[in-house]
């Protein structure tokens, strides 16, 4: 069995420009193979222009990384479609499509692409349809687990299956900005308050248990999905790329942990070493076909 790629998801949070540049300067030395760049959450977050992302991408390429530009997940305004068309036309990097709009534009241009998780691939026929449109790699939908991953990977062996092995789960998208709402602001006058939350904003149930994480128009799980203990099963299911979501602190150690796993480290020991890096705890329910928030024993 070949060694899987490590990939770094786009930064889901609104970090200041300097922080983004510093982060990717460090990534050049990390053992990741593919780096996804770009803004996937909110069209108002424009600390970096397309030229900035291109410059970061070029430096990562020079350091031997493969670079993919990831698109917005929710497109509502005509101007957002315009920006999407321009990006797909002009970028020399592969594009990850997070909405059928991007699939349409890329298919029209004849450009191969990565099918993002929000495209909702749940069965082989859907995956085949995206392959026909030009997808050559796909991210497993967040709520799917081992059995679906294995069935889909077996149905399309020529495509690369990527699985989110570390990060808060992307759970929902809305027209409403919940960070602005928490500050009694409207989305139109948000004042970019989400920049105060480099890890999103923790939302607890009223008995104090961490539950969700508010990140602008995007809602994530509070718990971090960690599939470190499941590493052998993830690879056996057919995953050829393992995705790690950047977080405010500790991303480098997470990458190092999964790099060790793919070079033979013990999953149990690695899981224990990584657990403290999850800001409020870990979960793995989806991988086992259960509620995403559940934490189950690894089934090897």
């Amino acid at each position: 069995m070949s060694i899987p790629e490590l990939t770094l998801a786009p930064i889901p949070y609104f970090w200041p420009r300097e922080r983004v540049f510093a982060f990717y300067a460090a990534v050049r030395d990390w053992p990741v193979d593919t780096v996804y760049l770009g803004e996937t959450v909110c069209p108002k977050r424009r600390e970096l222009r397309p030229a900035d992302w291109a410059a970061i991408g070029q430096r990562l390429e020079a350091a031997g990384k493969r670079v993919v530009i990831s698109t917005l997940t929710l497109l509502e305004a005509g101007s957002e479609l315009g920006a999407l068309r321009q990006l797909c036309r002009e970028t020399r990097f592969t594009v990850e499509a997070n909405d059928m709009a991007a699939v349409n534009v890329l298919a029209r241009l004849g450009r191969p692409f990565v099918a993002g998780g929000p495209l909702n691939v749940y069965n082989p026929r859907s995956l085949a349809r995206l392959r026909a449109a030009g997808a050559e790699r796909w991210l497993l939908a967040a709520e799917l687990g081992r059995d679906d991953a294995a069935a889909l990977a077996a149905a399309e062996p020529a495509m690369t299956l990527e699985v989110l092995v570390w990060g808060r789960l992307p759970l929902a998208w809305s027209a409403r900005c919940f960070t602005a709402r928490a500050e009694n602001r409207s989305r139109d006058r948000c004042g970019f308050v989400c920049q105060r939350d480099p890890d999103g904003r923790l939302t607890r149930t009223r008995d104090g248990r961490p539950f969700l994480n508010i990140n602008g128009i995007h809602t994530e799980s509070a718990l971090t999905q960690s599939l470190a203990a499941e590493y052998p099963a993830v690879v056996a299911a057919g995953a050829r790329a393992l995705r790690i979501v950047p977080q405010a602190e500790g991303t480098e150690q997470v990458v190092a942990g999964f790099d060790a796993l793919r070079h033979g480290a013990d999953p149990g020991a690695t899981t224990a070493a990584l657990a403290p890096l999850a800001p409020v705890g870990t979960c793995n329910g989806y991988w086992h076909g259960q509620a995403g928030a559940a934490e189950l024993e690894a089934a090897l």
Binding site: L74, L75, E76, A77, G78, E80, L81, L84, R85, D99, M100, A101, N104, A107, P118, N120, Y122, N123, P124, R125, S126, A128, R129, L130, A133, A142, E143, D147, D148, A151, A155, L169, P170, L171, A172, W173, S174, A175, R176, C177, A182, S186, R187, D188, R201, L202, T203, R204, T205, R206, D207, F211, L212, I214, T219, S221, G289, Q290, A291, G292
Partner: protein
């Protein structure tokens, strides 16, 4: 504009037809549709009777097969598409690429509507489904402003349908896993949000608690009206404040802007609520029928009175324009 009304049962179907629906939408009694609740929806024989009843009165019948089949469930969804085609429904409402692909290949004459569950919020996404599957209409998610609806309607390759009244999904339909994260049962795969089997009510010293698979969704003070614990309408702690972090229990009502939706070129107005009673369906349908008819007549309409009556039908007795009204975001 066509008025499309919910039919979660044969009595609800009859009520909607009687009250003036141009079309009703239905589903089979299983996870193939996004309103999979106990006691709801149709078996084959019932649907046959429903179609006969509606047709005789000039009303169309649409059928939703709008969840996402996994590999294991695929044969059941495929069979549902075949049954729908065999029964001669006026349109199939679908979201999944595989389901749409299968329906296109196997039943080329079957009219396809893109379900709101497909999360298609823009003209490029609609163009993809139009080019790929020849969809004839698309239901837009409840996240667009009136201006954005107009923009999509003007540039889309197919007519669009929007929600006019009913529960307000504040997340993009088809891209919300909140319920699945908490319960393991997903609107996308199982067809139900915050399913009743996971709801538990507990009287505690601090008030009545509503839990969803153990997660505390809300706590109601003595005397406070306790609503169904739909996850996104619960109260949570953000930075120490307990409030409706996502949305208050409220319903969407577009009565105030129906004329604007008509001017925007919207082809159909949908009433949400296949899980509601025939009496609710009758009243909501009759009100929306009157409101849509008034749009065409040019005479002043008793909008305030309608809005009051719709408010009485609404969740938490409150209505909102939701995302149609820009400041909501």
């Amino acid at each position: 504009m066509e008025l499309v009304c919910p039919a979660g049962s044969l009595p609800a179907l009859r009520a909607a037809v009687e009250a003036g629906a141009n079309a009703v939408y239905t589903g089979f009694r299983d996870a193939t549709n996004a309103r999979h609740f106990a006691g709801l929806n149709f078996g084959e024989r019932e649907l046959e009777r429903g179609i006969e009843h509606a047709r005789a009165r000039g009303c169309k019948v649409y059928l939703a097969i709008n969840t996402y089949p996994g590999t294991a469930g695929w044969p059941r969804w495929r069979a549902a598409v075949d049954r729908a085609a065999g029964l001669g429904v006026d349109a199939l409402i679908a979201a999944d690429l595989g389901v749409l692909d299968y329906a296109t290949e196997r039943h080329p004459g079957l009219r396809l509507h893109l379900s709101v569950q497909a999360s298609a919020t823009n003209a490029e996404a609609l163009d993809f489904h139009h080019r790929s599957f020849g969809i004839r209409r698309a239901v837009l998610p409840r996240v667009l402003s009136l201006q954005q609806v107009a923009q999509v309607a003007a540039s889309a390759p197919v007519p669009v349908e929007v929600f006019g009244f009913g529960s307000l999904c504040i997340m993009v339909e088809g891209r919300c896993l909140l319920s699945s994260y908490a319960t393991g049962q997903s609107p996308n795969t199982y067809g139900a949000c915050s399913p009743a089997a996971h709801v538990r009510w507990e009287q505690q010293a601090g008030g009545l608690e509503a839990r969803l698979n153990g997660h505390l969704i809300d706590r109601f003070a003595p005397g406070e009206r306790a609503g169904y614990p739909t996850l996104c309408k619960g109260r949570f702690l953000v930075g120490g404040n307990a409030y409706h972090a996502f949305e208050e229990p409220t319903s969407l009502s577009s009565v105030d802007i129906l004329a604007d939706l008509q001017r925007a070129g919207v082809a159909a107005i949908k009433v949400e609520g296949r899980q509601r009673s025939p009496a609710y369906v009758a009243e909501a349908t009759a009100l929306l029928r009157a409101a849509i008819d008034a749009c065409g007549s040019g005479s002043p309409a008793p909008t305030d009175a309608w809005q009051r009556r719709l408010g009485e039908l609404a969740e938490g007795s409150q209505v909102t324009l939701g995302a149609y009204h820009r400041p909501w975001g």
